[in-house]
């Protein structure tokens, strides 16, 4: 079946299998491998994207359900060669080890800061509670989100 959706501001069409996830469609049909495929059951958050502005696990959205809707992936956060402030803060805080969880965490953190520009530590922890980092680099990830929220320059 054919779906039509807006991805990172661009109108896209994709031929998808009825039972496939939005994650599969993004990675395999639309050439956007930034969203990572790990647990496929909503536990790890590596596939986090914004669907109509809401943070979701794209592995738990049926691709057909995204028909007519708007998706922003990690590839859509940076603009014009400039890193998104959250991406920049992840680099500066050393919040990346193997990097597999990073796209999901960046999307979740960007979503948090858009809703709550000055989050408390508890708010940050709760906002990132659906994203797992197997390298257990959590402290630097929390530091990076605080850094991004502080707006401090490099």
């Amino acid at each position: 079946m054919r779906i039509e959706l807006t991805v990172n501001g661009e109108r896209q069409e994709a031929d998808v299998w009825a039972g496939e996830s939005l994650l599969f469609a993004l990675r395999e049909r639309l050439g956007l491998p930034g969203s990572k495929n790990a647990c496929e059951q909503g536990e790890c958050g590596s596939c986090s994207v914004l669907l109509d502005g809401r943070l979701v696990c794209s592995c738990l959205v049926l691709a057909a359900q995204a028909d007519g809707h708007e998706v922003v992936t990690v590839e859509g956060l940076a603009g014009d060669g400039e890193l998104h402030p959250v991406q920049d803060a992840f680099v500066r805080a050393g919040a990346v080890q193997c990097g597999f969880c990073t796209p999901g965490l960046v999307v979740a953190a960007a979503d948090l800061l858009q809703r709550s520009p000055q989050p408390s530590d508890d708010e940050i922890r709760e906002a990132l509670s659906g994203n797992l980092c197997r390298c257990t680099g959590y402290q630097k990830i929390l530091d990076a989100v605080s850094l991004a929220a502080s707006g401090a320059d490099a």
């Binding site: 079946m1 299998w17 009825a18 039972g19 996830s21 496929e40 059951q41 909503g42 536990e43 958050g45 986090s48 809401r54 943070l55 979701v56 696990c57 592995c59 738990l60 959205v61 049926l62 057909a64 359900q65 028909d67 007519g68 979740a108 979503d111 709760e126 906002a127 509670s129 659906g130 994203n131």
Partner: protein
């Protein structure tokens, strides 16, 4: 496999009559796991994401009518949070922000898991489930809707349309036992309300029997209530905990819940 996407409730009900085996999908937090892991291959998936009648909630003369498509995130937002505080607390324990943005009350009712987090708070508030088919709609008391583990009273041609509840205003709370705050399927859970108007202590547990169950006692019997709750449970040993632990935990949760609600 085919996906059908109705744009109205009438169309959804017509499609469900034409395809009684169609599996509804709303937030996808249960069904997508089954699809991703090849556990289910339904012939037809009925996408309820574009049915406006299932969204939002309304209030008529004190009766709340909550659309089946209400997400946990929406249940956590004011003014619903103040109207149904235990449901809001329970919703906050569901999965993660990502899951709460997608998962719905209707999905929790459809899956009818003994661990469904929204079910104990809704039982405590005497919620009813509104289901509909082309032939009309009917209301089923929640305790009659939940007929077994992952089994509900829905007929093949019916869809879950709404939850009906008249908020008691009673002090109430929800507690859940699990290894961490996020992404936990309840080892056991308990919703408690102290309803002075009705003169009742009310509690409903999850993950401690084949279905979430409501336990009621007179207001004056608070001392014996935790033991009553624990004895009403019929837990099993499984990967998440033992029956003995669950019974013990329910007793502890009932003590804490009563403390909170009696102080309020």
């Amino acid at each position: 496999m085919d996906v059908l996407t109705p744009r109205s409730l009438d169309e959804a009900l017509r499609l469900k009559t034409e395809h009684p085996d169609a599996v509804p999908i709303a937030g996808g937090t249960d069904l997508m796991v089954a699809l991703n892991f090849d556990r289910e291959r339904p012939g037809v998936i009925l996408n309820l994401g574009e049915v406006p009648e299932l969204r939002g909630w309304s209030r008529d003369d004190g009766l709340l009518r909550i659309g089946a498509g209400l997400t946990y995130a929406e249940a956590m937002a004011e003014p619903l949070r103040s109207l149904l505080p235990a449901l809001a607390e329970a919703s906050r324990t569901v999965g993660s922000p990502q899951i709460r943005n997608r998962g719905t009350l209707g999905g929790n009712l459809g899956t009818a898991s003994p661990a469904g987090d929204s079910l104990p708070p809704l039982l405590v508030e005497d919620a009813e489930v509104e289901v509909a088919s082309l032939g009309g709609s009917r209301r089923i008391a929640l305790h009659e809707f939940l007929v077994g583990p992952k089994q509900n009273a829905l007929a093949p041609e019916e869809l879950i349309v709404a939850v009906l509840v008249r908020p008691s205003g009673a002090p109430q709370t929800f507690m859940k036992v699990g290894p961490r705050n996020a992404m936990v399927i309840a080892v056991c859970s308990l919703a408690v309300a102290v309803d002075r108007e009705r003169g009742e202590l009310r509690a409903a547990f999850g993950s401690a029997g084949p279905v979430p169950l409501l336990v009621i006692a007179p207001l004056a019997e608070a001392d014996g209530f935790p033991a009553l709750v624990a004895s009403a449970a019929s837990p099993i040993d499984d990967v998440r905990g033992t029956a003995a632990y669950r019974r013990h935990a329910l007793r502890v949760l009932a003590v804490r819940g009563l403390e909170r609600c009696l102080a309020a």
